[in-house]
C-alpha cells in the first residue's frame, strides 16, 4: 500500500480539527442567532413543564459558564457521543441519525454503482465519435441532465409511475411483505440483506422502490461524469506519451485501453467522490418529501417540525464525517491506481 504513517496521522489530525471546527461553528450559530439558546436547545417547549425543560437545557449547555468552557464541554460531549436525547424521538440523537444513514447511503450507493459506469461509457462513446450526431446528442443530453432539478424530476417520476401502473414507489419495502416473509434487516442495507437471506420477493420489492428515486438522483452524476469523461479523453489524447505510443506502433485498442483509459480513471474517481457528497443532499430531499422513505431527509424534516436542534447538530457532524470519509477514500483509491501518487 502506498500510504505512509505520516499521511494517516495528518489526515486523522485534520479530520478531528474539522469536526471541532464544525462544532464551534454550529454552536456559534446557536448562540448568536436571536432568541434564548436554552429555549432553542430545549426545542421551544410549551406547557407547564416548559420552564423546567429550559432550565435543564441551560444546565446541559452550561450557559452560565464562560463561552470557551461551554464550547469545550460541547466538544467533549460530541466526542464522547453524548449529545443528549432527541426532542422528537426521545432517544440519543446519534442513534436517530445513524438509523437514517444506512437508508440514504443504500440509495446513494445504488445510484452511483449504476450511474458512474453509464456516465463513463457515454462520455467515452461521445469522445471516440467526436463531431458525430451521437456525440452532439450525448453532449446536449448531459448538459440538460446536469441542469435538471432532481426533486422536480422525482415528483414527475412518481406521478408518471402512479398514473400509469397504479404502483406507488413509497418507502423502502412494503410493510405487508415485511411481515409475511418475516424480513429483518441486519446491516440496514435492505437490498443486500434480502439477497443474502435469499428473500427474493422482498429483494424485488426493495429494488422496485429503489429504482425510481435512484433514477431521479442519477441525473447529476450522469451528466457530470459524461462531460468530465469526454473532456478527460480529449486531454489524454493530446499527451506526449499517446503520440509516442502511436509512433512505437502500439495499436489503437491498446492505446485506448492502456494509454488513454488508465489515465482518466483517477480523475473520474475524484469527480465521482465530489458528486457523491453533493448527491447526498439530493437524496435527502428526494427520499423524504417525494418518496416517503425513512432516511436522513425525513430526520431533517422531523427536526424542522419539532425544532430539534440536537438532531440538527448530529446531522451536521455526521454529514461532515461522511464528507471526510468519502474524500479520504478517494485519496486512497487514487494512490492505489496512480503509481505517481504517494500518500
Amino acid at each position: 500500500m502506498p500510504i505512509s504513517l505520516n499521511y494517516v496521522l495528518k489526515r486523522t489530525f485534520l479530520s478531528i480539527l474539522i469536526v471541532i471546527g464544525v462544532i464551534v461553528f454550529t454552536y456559534t450559530l446557536l448562540i448568536i442567532t436571536p432568541g434564548d439558546p436554552a429555549v432553542k436547545w430545549a426545542g421551544n417547549p410549551r406547557g407547564p413543564k416548559a420552564h423546567e425543560a429550559v432550565e435543564l437545557a441551560r444546565r446541559e449547555l452550561g450557559l452560565d459558564q464562560p463561552i470557551y468552557i461551554q464550547i469545550a464541554r460541547f466538544i467533549y460531549n460530541v466526542f464522547t457521543g453524548n449529545l443528549g436525547l432527541s426532542i422528537a424521538y426521545k432517544i440519543p440523537v446519534t442513534q436517530v441519525v445513524y438509523s437514517g444513514f444506512t437508508s440514504t447511503l443504500e440509495l446513494l450507493l445504488f445510484t452511483y454503482i449504476l450511474a458512474v459506469p453509464v456516465g463513463v461509457l457515454l462520455g467515452l462513446y461521445s469522445a471516440l465519435r467526436r463531431g458525430s450526431s451521437i456525440d452532439g446528442f450525448i453532449q446536449s443530453f448531459s448538459v440538460v441532465l446536469a441542469s435538471t432539478p432532481t426533486f422536480w424530476l422525482a415528483t414527475i417520476i412518481v406521478l408518471v409511475i402512479y398514473s400509469t401502473t397504479g404502483f406507488l414507489p413509497y418507502g423502502r419495502v412494503s410493510s405487508k411483505l415485511e411481515i409475511t416473509t418475516g424480513f429483518q434487516s441486519i446491516t440496514g442495507f435492505y437490498l443486500l440483506d434480502s439477497l443474502l437471506q435469499g428473500n427474493i420477493p422482498v429483494f424485488l420489492d426493495v429494488l422496485t422502490r429503489l429504482i425510481p428515486p435512484a433514477l431521479a438522483i442519477s441525473v447529476y452524476p450522469l451528466g457530470v461524469i459524461t462531460r468530465v469523461t469526454r473532456t478527460l479523453i480529449a486531454e489524454a489524447l493530446l499527451e506526449d506519451y499517446v503520440k509516442a505510443g502511436v509512433a512505437w506502433g502500439v495499436n489503437r485498442t491498446t492505446i485506448l485501453k492502456h494509454f488513454v483509459f488508465r489515465s482518466i480513471i483517477p480523475p473520474i474517481i475524484q469527480t465521482s467522490g465530489l458528486a457523491f457528497v453533493y448527491s447526498m443532499v439530493d437524496a435527502m430531499v428526494v427520499e423524504s418529501l417525494v418518496f416517503g422513505r425513512p432516511g436522513l431527509g425525513s430526520i431533517l424534516l422531523d427536526a424542522l417540525h419539532k425544532a430539534d436542534f440536537r438532531v440538527a447538530l448530529a446531522l451536521v457532524i455526521y454529514l461532515t464525517i461522511f464528507y471526510i470519509i468519502v474524500n479520504t477514500l478517494v485519496d486512497i483509491i487514487q494512490a492505489i491506481i496512480d503509481p505517481r501518487v504517494k500518500l
Partner: protein
C-alpha cells in the same frame, strides 16, 4: 483575450446564443414581471377572494399555466418567481465570490499562518452541508431569504477560495511576481496587477456556470420548506406547496403544478451553463485543441 473579443467569437456558437437568449428572457422576466404577469398580486402570494371557484384550473388562455390550490394564477407566480430565482442565485454567487477571492488571494499571497488558517477554513466550510445550515438558521430565525443566502454562501465561498488559492498560488510563484516584489512594488499593486487581473476571467466564467448550481441548491432548500415561507413567489416554494397540500390523486389531475415551476428552474440553469461552457472552452487552451482520433 479580452471579454468583448471572447463574446464575439462565441456568438458564432449556437449553444452560446441559446444560453444568451434563455438568460435574457429570464432576466427580462425578473425585471418586468410585475407588468407582464396578468395577476401580479397573486404572483406575490395574494389569495383571490373567490379562490374556491378558481382553484386548480388547468392551463387556459385566462390562466396560461393554470391555477394553484389557492386559486392563484400559476403563470403570475412563476413570472414573479423569476426575480426571486435571480436574486438568490446572483446574491449567493456574488457574495461567495467576493469572500472567496479575498480569502484565496490572501492565502496564496501572505503565506505562513494566514495561509494555514485560511486553508483550514476552506476545508472546514467545504465539508459542511448547506442544507443543514439552512435547518439551523430556519430553526433559530424563522423562514426568509436570509436562510437561503447565508446557508449557501457558507459553503460556496470556500469553493471560490480554493479555486482562487490554487490559481493565485501558481501565479505568485512565477518569476515576474517575484521580480515585482523585489522591485519594491506594493503588495496591493502586485495583487491587483498580477494576480487579480489574471484570475478574473476564468473565475468569472466559473461563476456564471455556478449560478445554475446555486439556483438548483436554493430551490432544493426552498422545496424542503427550509428557506422561504409558503406563499413566497419562488419556484421551489411553489413545488413544495404543490406536493404538501394535495393528495396524490388530486396531484395527478393537476400536473401543471409540478411541470411549470420545475421547467423554469431547468431552463434557467441550462441558460447559465450554455453561456459558461463555450467561454470556458475558449479560456482553457487544453479544451480548445483538436483531438480527433487519428491513429
Amino acid at each position: 483575450m479580452d471579454l468583448s473579443r471572447l463574446i464575439q467569437r462565441n456568438l458564432k456558437k449556437t449553444r452560446f446564443i441559446i444560453g444568451v437568449v434563455i438568460t435574457t428572457f429570464i432576466l427580462f422576466l425578473a425585471l418586468f414581471s410585475p407588468w407582464i404577469a396578468p395577476y401580479p398580486r397573486e404572483g406575490y402570494g395574494y389569495v383571490p377572494l373567490e379562490y374556491e371557484n378558481r382553484k386548480l384550473q388547468p392551463p387556459s388562455l385566462n390562466h396560461l399555466f393554470g391555477t394553484d390550490v389557492l386559486g392563484r394564477d400559476l403563470f403570475s407566480r412563476i413570472a414573479i418567481g423569476a426575480s426571486t430565482a435571480i436574486i438568490q442565485a446572483f446574491t449567493v454567487i456574488f457574495l461567495s465570490l467576493l469572500i472567496g477571492l479575498f480569502a484565496g488571494i490572501s492565502a496564496a499571497y501572505f503565506k505562513g499562518v494566514v495561509e494555514l488558517v485560511l486553508n483550514y477554513l476552506i476545508e472546514l466550510f467545504m465539508a459542511i452541508p448547506a442544507i443543514v445550515i439552512a435547518l439551523f438558521l430556519r430553526l433559530s430565525t424563522g423562514p426568509g431569504l436570509h436562510v437561503v443566502i447565508i446557508s449557501l454562501v457558507t459553503t460556496w465561498w470556500a469553493w471560490y477560495a480554493r479555486i482562487t488559492y490554487v490559481y493565485a498560488k501558481s501565479i505568485v510563484e512565477m518569476d515576474y511576481v517575484v521580480l515585482a516584489k523585489l522591485s519594491g512594488l506594493s503588495d496591493l499593486k502586485i495583487i491587483e496587477r498580477h494576480v487579480l487581473r489574471n484570475i478574473i476571467q476564468p473565475i468569472t466564467v466559473q461563476a456564471i456556470s455556478d449560478l445554475g448550481s446555486a439556483l438548483l441548491e436554493a430551490s432544493a432548500i426552498n422545496f424542503m420548506g427550509l428557506g422561504l415561507p409558503p406563499g413566497h413567489p419562488d419556484w421551489g416554494v411553489i413545488l413544495y406547496e404543490g406536493i404538501t397540500s394535495l393528495s396524490l390523486e388530486a396531484f395527478i389531475r393537476a400536473p401543471w403544478l409540478v411541470v411549470f415551476p420545475g421547467l423554469f428552474i431547468l431552463i434557467t440553469t441550462l441558460g447559465f451553463t450554455l453561456i459558461a461552457d463555450p467561454l470556458r472552452e475558449d479560456l482553457d487552451p487544453r479544451l480548445r485543441r483538436r483531438w480527433r482520433l487519428w491513429f
